[in-house]
Subunit: 342 residues, 2 copies
């Protein structure tokens, strides 16, 4: 059997997720080698202000310190400085690219270029950036197949909760016929606060104060984030070939205190539901408070309707740096397994 | 690559689960071959009154008809009649034994003998009978390893909901530190009815009328069923080596209307919780009605506490013939995959 103990990684984006991943790799290093024979080695890192490269492996402790002190990894002492990210991806010897820059749903850059450049160069890709998948899922999976590389994205839906893997692998031999999900924690937090009596404006202000709202609040409030996740689920689980324009999308701006009251009277709650049942729809909908899907606060939940095993609901935290980092680790193990099998 | 299209199966037990499995194999035959290259062939069946054997494959339609008409498969026209089950297991050419006779927690027979005889003869085993696992999980897995066969039991916990697979595979690379579950639908139904105002006696009577209670009601009410599932989870997910006597077990007989009232006043509900957190305990416990674990009716639910991905809850139907049959199908695919890899 072949052995690939060292897995060379290029990490694009060094925000909360990138830093959490570095901490996770540091704390789990011994265990990962003992249990899985895995030695992950980050050979290149890029953030919006600069890059750091070391083909023998960057010192993650130092990287974290430099980032904390300067807000960027630019000043990390490195063999080459100011390497452009695209040059880094195309020239550095590596096995996997981890794409963790911010999502945008206009052109999905810079993530889109990172991912395509990496796959063309024979690197497998793990993305937690939803933008490229939302705009081009079908063509990105084709590109991966064409280049004989793996594309993984466990962290894009459900954070650390392995929703995608559950539906794809744990339900092997079963057919999922439809699903409904609460896929955005921020809007769920706002709607929960409204159920408890707040107006939309004050609930949004509270969510902002807690740091739950994206810099571009439209991503949450206008349901772009939930729609992107629905695109990913529809492609990966249901085998559909769809992108953002295929989603019938409504945000929560127009949910009124009256709507909430009417729902409460019927023992229901208004939730932002992403639904795949022939049509792909994201929008506010009333569901019974006794429905397992009806979770509160920032929780995410999804209910799969299966042909023979009935309804199944998974509930978990949808976001968080360490949760998402743990999903990247699962993808790394999966990719390494794929390399061993070929 | 080797190919094993035909998988020869001995089926012990032809009650609800055995019959549901036969129906599922009939209805999915084409699809199973097209998608997975799998041709399951049942070569021997045993029920409490007799057996049927055909090494070229039993006719499942006929088998179901004979069972429906006579309450046993004894009158199925077969090449050999009245073959003793142990002789069938030791002499018939087969790949997999499916053990689907009733659970008992005294000596786990006849399931225990079926399983050990099969493994000694080189057959992989799928059991939905919890008895043998509850009394001898550690030694049965050792016996499987020693004989180079696979032992699978997805249907024993959560029915069609792949709880075991989720914890073992979907959370790969993650560490589960503890868990709490509602693992018995019958007691959950009774406790839900009590929350809605019924006494224990009338709630039990109602559950009996609905067909939810085992012939030996102690299995449900005294929490033997929930404890058996806790044994399986603790061994499989947490790597513990435990059996029934290691479980601190209390049933729901002593839950009073007063207990329920006190809980309701605190926005809590009394649930029969199976818990693994250093100690292994099954007993009635108050949990918040806002806890995702707090499901009603016959639903099952389990919450895993993981090191990096937070709390994750899975909710689904815990029982049902077709649900359990679908879990056997998953195990069959898993075993076939294992055969292909070796």
């Amino acid at each position: 059997m072949k052995s690939f103990p060292v897995l060379r990684i290029i990490l694009c984006g060094f925000g909360v997720v990138g830093q959490s991943l570095s901490k996770l790799l540091l704390s789990r290093a011994e265990d990962l080698y003992a249990r899985y024979g895995l030695k992950p080695r980050i050979v290149g890192v890029y953030d919006s202000k600069g890059s750091a490269v070391d083909s023998s492996g960057l010192d993650l402790n130092q990287l974290l310190q430099v980032k904390k002190k300067n807000g960027t990894i630019k000043k990390y002492r490195t063999e080459k400085s100011n390497v452009k990210v695209i040059d880094m991806i195309s020239s550095l010897d590596a096995d996997v690219l981890i794409e963790a820059t911010s999502s945008n749903y206009k052109d999905a850059e810079p993530g889109m270029s990172h991912i395509t450049e990496a796959m063309k160069g024979g690197l497998s890709v793990i993305t937690v950036n939803k933008g490229p998948l939302a705009l081009a899922f079908p063509s990105l999976t084709e590109l991966a197949t064409y280049n004989h590389v793996m594309l993984r994205f466990s962290g894009t839906v459900g954070g650390g909760t392995p929703i995608l893997d559950y539906a794809k692998n744990s339900l092997q031999g079963e057919r999922i016929t439809s699903f409904d999900g609460i896929l955005n924690g921020t809007t769920n937090y706002i709607l929960t606060n409204m159920t408890n009596g707040m107006t939309f404006e004050s609930a949004l202000a509270d969510a902002r104060k807690k740091g739950y709202v994206e810099a571009d609040e439209s991503l949450d409030i206008d349901a772009l984030d939930a729609a992107a996740k629905l695109v990913i689920l529809a492609n990966w689980i249901m085998g559909m070939k769809v992108t953002m324009p295929d989603i019938n999308r409504t945000g929560i701006r127009d949910v009124t205190t009256e709507d909430i009251k009417h729902a409460t009277e019927k023992k229901c709650a208004v939730k932002l539901i992403a639904s795949c049942n022939r049509e792909l729809v994201v929008g506010p909908r009333e569901i019974s408070v006794n429905d397992p899907l009806c979770v509160n606060g920032t929780l995410n939940a999804i209910t799969f309707n299966s042909e023979h095993s009935g309804q199944q609901t998974i509930i978990g935290k949808g976001a968080g740096g360490m949760e998402t980092a743990s999903s990247i680790l699962r993808d790394l193990l999966d990719i390494r397994q794929g390399m061993l099998n070929h």
